[in-house]
């Protein structure tokens, strides 16, 4: 098991190097001159050239990448064009809001995903199973940017239960209650489709387990259906549940991006969007990199957890 995990970690490091190159190259090959963008169209050609030299844009690509990478390892991601502060500061400032949103969404995804899966898969072909399956189809198909707007209209504008902007959640004097109220709508928006996918896949796992002989025997021993679902089969469903839940991290990131924008949630996703709108390349680069790193490391952790949970791979 230890060797398997070390292999995984090694592979992850290689992937991260690849990721850094893609992020670097993507904005490098983008049409238009970065120096020109920074200085604006009014700048003279000499000033643009001078800035190109200062930024090292006139040197070979691989050398630029090396320098960028070395700076990156020191935690230096360059300076934001629009904000004038180091990008690392911007990211450090915003990442907590994003991690909070991700954490809450992930919690909703796994808890409700498992709950719905057990309620539908454990009672296969019941009315409840059918209703949950239908609900999951709807949740899986809702585009997050639209679901966010609809929730905003219903619960923010019409019913006025929840605040319509997430900014207040990060105020210094925000109490736990205030934070939670701000968090609910964005977290539900982010979690919806992942929750549905987790529920659907785990439901199949439950259905498979229900056909196993040990369940028959448990039933013969007179154990209740509830006990069979929540204790007997749960253990065997967990590995596939953890795997599918781990795979959702990526989708959660994608959805979180949209809900941050819709709910004005002051996280990395919103910052990335502002960076794109303002053509602030260092910020875009930094945000994409930060999200990719958290994503890759999250996948690694999910992988290790599922190795540890699966008796066949534990070795």
């Amino acid at each position: 098991m230890i060797r398997l995990i070390i292999n995984r970690i090694f592979a992850t490091i290689l992937v991260l190097i690849g990721v850094s190159f893609v992020v670097f190259a993507a904005l490098h090959f983008s049409p238009g001159d970065v120096a020109r963008t920074i200085l604006g169209l009014g700048a003279t050609e000499e000033r643009v050239q001078a800035l190109r030299q200062e930024l090292g844009l006139d040197r070979p690509l691989l050398i630029q990448y090396w320098d960028w990478m070395m700076a990156l390892l020191r935690g230096d991601l360059g300076r934001s064009i629009s904000l004038g502060v180091p990008v690392s500061e911007v990211i450090f400032d915003k990442i907590w809001a994003s991690l909070l949103l991700m954490g809450a969404s992930f919690f909703l995804t796994v808890s409700f995903g498992l709950l719905f899966a057990a309620l539908s898969g454990g009672y296969h072909r019941s009315l409840m199973d059918r209703l949950i399956t239908l609900l999951m189809l709807l949740l899986a198909s809702l585009p997050p940017f639209w679901l966010g707007i609809v929730l905003l209209i219903i619960f923010g504008l019409k019913l006025r239960i929840f605040p319509i902007s997430g900014v207040g959640a990060m105020a210094d004097d925000a109490t736990l209650y205030v934070v939670a109220m701000h968090l609910i709508l964005p977290a539900v928006t982010t979690a919806a489709s992942s929750l549905a996918v987790v529920a659907r896949v785990t439901r199949s796992a439950f259905i498979d387990e229900m056909g196993e002989p040990y369940v028959q025997s448990a039933r013969a021993r007179g154990l209740s259906q509830r006990r069979i679902i929540s204790i007997e089969t749960m253990r065997n469903v967990l590995p596939s549940f953890v795997t599918i839940a781990g795979l959702q991290i990526g989708f959660l990131f994608s959805s979180a991006l949209f809900s941050e924008i819709v709910f004005n949630w002051p996280g990395i996703g919103l910052q990335l969007y502002l960076g794109i709108v303002q053509r602030d390349f260092p910020v875009v680069q930094g945000c994409v990199l930060a999200i990719a790193i958290v994503f890759v490391v999250g996948n690694l952790l999910a992988d290790i957890l599922s190795i540890a949970l699966d008796p066949r791979r534990r070795g």
Binding site: A11, L14, V15, L16, G18, V19, F21, V22, V23, A26, L27, F29, S30, P31, G32, L137, L138, A140, S141, L142, P143, P144, F145, W146, I149, V150, L152, I153, L157, I207, D208, G211, G250, F251, F253, S254, S255, L257, F258, I261, V262, L272, Y273, I276, V277, V284, V288, I291, A292, F295, V296
Partner: protein
């Protein structure tokens, strides 16, 4: 394996019949047929042009006489824009799913045949896997610039790693079979083996994946347009319409809500059909079906 033999024996007909028996899959199929008709005849069906504006009726609610779904912030008929928007929404989702498969097939086949090249190709795909789907699409479009063509390119790139991995898996399992060995021994040129013999046997796997992923690509495509990175206003596209409606949700929520409802319905249709195709071709799902059939005997 089963999945491959079903389609390669040209039993698309059998697939269709299986889908027909599957109630939710046939619902999806019918919905998609209706959407296809709307795509083909949008200008005839739509009561107004997509950019025909009646400024005096700006933001009029649904039910306004002559305008079933109301009007948007520029006084354009929302129903007409939704109908016209079907075209771009379908095009921006289906095109990358098709082109992605066409690009991934040779890549996956080559990766399975030449092992060293395969390592290179698959490791590259692993790097692309490291980005959440929407993030990679955003990175590519913000680097290439907004617009429909760049949107399509970015979605193809987003799909590639998934497609290549699936084609590679299917091709690698075929490669070990005797018929390939026989072809190799008899001196058949590699390109004939790959593109004449192997291709028809791995293509179904790619097609099935394409069908199941269509729903998420629809959402991603519309999402990029929503962010201003894809289709640009004033073109009628659902993501663009939701984005425009977002500015007026305080006074006229229907402007953003209605195109999103159309989008959701379209995604539901894609997911229903995609799940149905996967279930019909997945041996495990079939096994459960026959197991249930045995129980009911």
């Amino acid at each position: 394996m089963r999945l491959i033999s079903i389609l390669s024996n040209s039993k698309a007909y059998e697939l269709l019949r299986t889908l027909q028996r599957d109630k939710s899959a046939s619902t999806g199929l019918w919905l998609l047929i209706v959407f296809s008709i709307i795509v083909l005849f949008a200008p005839i069906i739509a009561p107004y042009g997509p950019n025909e504006a009646i400024p005096s009726l700006r933001l009029a609610p649904p039910g306004t006489p002559g305008h079933l779904l109301g009007l948007d912030h520029q006084g354009r008929d929302i129903l007409s824009r939704i109908i016209h928007g079907t075209r771009l929404t379908v095009i921006t989702a289906v095109t990358p799913v098709v082109i992605g498969a066409l690009v991934a097939l040779p890549l996956g086949l080559l990766a399975a045949w030449y092992e060293r090249l395969g390592v290179l190709i698959l490791r590259t795909m692993d790097v692309l896997f490291a980005f959440p789907m929407a993030l990679l699409a955003i990175l590519v479009t913000s680097s290439l610039g907004a617009g429909i063509i760049n949107l399509l390119i970015s979605l193809v790139i987003v799909l590639l790693p998934y497609y290549v991995r699936i084609v590679h898996q299917a091709a690698a399992s075929q490669k070990a079979l005797p018929y390939i060995e026989a072809l190799r021994v008899s001196g058949t040129p590699v390109r004939t083996i790959l593109f004449v013999e192997l291709l028809p046997n791995v293509a179904p796997a790619a097609i099935v994946y394409g069908a199941t992923v269509l729903g998420s690509i629809v959402v991603t495509a519309a999402g990029l347009s929503f962010l201003g990175l894809g289709v640009q206003p004033p073109l009628a596209e659902w993501g663009v319409m939701i984005s425009e409606g977002r500015n007026v949700i305080f006074i006229a929520p229907h402007v953003a809500a209605l195109p999103g409802a159309a989008l959701t319905l379209f995604v539901i249709a894609c997911n229903l059909l995609g799940d149905g195709i996967r279930d019909a071709l997945d041996p495990r799902a079939r096994a459960t079906l026959s197991y249930q059939a045995n129980l009911s005997k």
